[in-house]
Symmetry: C2
Subunit: 368 residues, 2 copies
């Protein structure tokens, strides 16, 4: 923990007043925007997320809007995932890669129509890449950041809460589908999605001014459901194997290394910028890959830096995220391990700031 | 102030150990990297900066390297500043604009040779824009982020300190010129530049591993000069009229609005992406512009949001940065004001979180 100096450059969100009133104890900065990280404690927030319902200010998942006749063509250039079968009303998780196959972002793309897409981004200025490509290729498309701020409704009681404010039909949404719902006369896109394994929705709030009225209405409607302000939870997202761009993967990694090979259709994603580089990877396979890692002993300290993973004297990987899991009574972690040592059950040693710890490579995450 | 949750995504720097040991009290996040903001207090740091010498960890000024036969052509595409007369050994402050003339960044460009440039960036992932344009136009150039971290030596005693570590010849450098100097067998680019008006250098440290040895050598050599760890100082930079990308200007602004019209050679910067849009602005002039603003009364609170500037009932501008200046015994601020009210001496009212305050529009900043 350190002190954060706030300035206009670290943008506030439509829900910042609600987040502050709810007692956010700590923040990070994500897409030049404040993202709360802790309300009560990471452990308490985790237990509550798994048992009740939370409102998440994830405004920092900024939207990049692609609009115009070339929007769909451009969208396919950005990702190795084949988008041909995708319909309006669907959300796709799409690795975005550069010409070398390096990950630039791992957003969720929403197809609004053939000529309009929203890309709900992780922490990099993906707008600049998309604008640059569109400019260089003289594509007939406008690329911009609309005034749209996602608000997460996450947890097992999310359906109950959402139904009270948006009507029962919102619960008919299938996973990674969206629909349009009204709140106080404003139409909002709501998707069944979110950065947790506890289920729920993301409301794409289309106007800063409606942010706090919606926040307050949800808080009010969920009082007996024990609704509370929350945020992406370090423990829960590691248990569930949800990767964090910038933490667990960077431009140095291919999607295949990150375990995202199933989202790469290098044979059919025609036009994808990184296709040639990734075709090679998809044929030969990556030589290191993301794995769940179980770290022995008491709670590890916060993971600020890569922790080397050793087999004897040899560095064979690194841990990028780690936390103590009260539910699993072990330290859960995300690591990247060389193929020589990535098999399920491999025992390694992790160099933590507190000294070496035994660690177990797992093929599966814990899934909360 | 708020708590900051640190993770690997908020990158540490080669000098982070030194910064922590020196007692950094607060940080911001800049280009996904930690940037200290306060050591003793903003006021004390300011007074010390004006009287002694400070080491600044400005690693967050990441470099984008353009390398290849098309590097110079690409560089000119990025900025409306005419680069034809620029020689290796020079640094230019270059507004970077998109096709609409909107500011994407305001870096310092260093010409290493005809086919190699470093762009020392402000807070946006400019790498992505440059890579996107280069890809789209199939330019023969590699765009990447090298392992280069700037270390500032700022303050009136900067020459004395730099000479002790790099030799007397470093003091021969003229403003915005650079040369190559050796430290422990490693050649380093050193420029006479920096984000203060107190003079000094920026050392482009070309290898993470040499970071702390250099930091320690400078600290040791400057003991009798009262050298101290420091950082860009809010008060001093406002007094000096140094704008902050993300705070005082965004993609919504043209360079002309930001008072950077003198860096726009729209008649001669042939190939500049935003040239057509800016030619129009340069002929007609902007309708709002950055101004120094003096705010009455006691110290204003921290400026987290735009503060509206009013003439009667009419909003005619906004303040984006503000601080109490002990030297000038007034609140110094940066604002953007409509042309109807931007003349020197215009009296306005600023809506601060503490209530309305009288304010004076000034044509000139205070220059520390």
């Amino acid at each position: 923990m350190a002190q954060l100096s706030v300035s206009h450059r670290l943008r506030r969100t439509p829900f910042s007043d609600g987040v502050t009133a709810a007692g956010a104890k700590s923040f990070t900065v994500y897409n030049h925007m404040l993202l709360p990280t802790v309300f009560r404690s990471v452990e308490e927030d985790c237990a509550h997320l798994k048992s009740a319902v939370q409102l998440w200010d994830v405004s920092c998942e900024r939207q990049v809007e692609l609009r115009g006749p070339d929007a769909s063509r451009l969208m396919q250039m950005l990702t190795p995932r084949d988008l041909r079968g995708m319909l309006a009303g669907q959300c796709y998780y799409v690795p975005i890669v550069d010409e070398t196959g390096g990950m630039l972002n791992d957003p969720v793309a929403l197809k609004l129509s053939e000529d309009c897409w929203w890309v709900s981004i992780a922490d990099s200025d993906l707008l600049l890449w998309i604008k640059g490509v569109a400019y260089g290729l003289r594509l007939d498309v406008l690329v911009d950041e609309p005034d749209v701020s996602p608000l997460g409704i996450q947890g097992p009681l999310a359906d109950k809460l959402a139904a009270r404010v948006f009507g029962d039909s919102v619960t008919d949404l299938r996973f990674f589908r969206y629909g349009w719902f009204e709140f106080e006369g404003t139409d909002m896109l709501i998707a069944r999605s979110g950065y947790s394994k506890q289920g729920g929705f993301e409301v794409y709030v289309p106007d800063t001014n409606i942010g706090m009225p919606l926040w307050n209405a949800l808080m009010e409607a969920g009082r007996d459901l024990d609704v509370h302000a929350g945020c992406p939870n370090l423990i829960e997202r590691i248990e569930g194997g949800l990767l964090s761009y910038g933490n667990d993967m960077t431009r140095a990694n291919t999607p295949h290394e990150c375990g995202l090979g199933r989202f790469c259709n290098t044979q059919t994603a025609i036009g994808c910028i990184g296709r040639d580089a990734l075709l090679r990877v998809s044929m030969e396979g990556p030589i290191r890959q993301t794995r769940a890692i179980e770290i022995d002993g008491p709670a590890v300290p916060a993971c600020h830096d890569y922790w080397p993973m050793m087999a004897g004297d040899k560095t064979v990987g690194r841990v990028s995220s780690a936390a103590w899991s009260p539910d699993h009574q072990t330290n859960v972690a995300v690591g990247m391990v060389r193929m020589t040592h990535w098999d399920d059950g491999t025992e390694l040693v992790v160099q933590t700031p507190d000294g070496p710890r035994g660690a177990l490579v797992r093929e599966q995450f814990w899934h909360g």
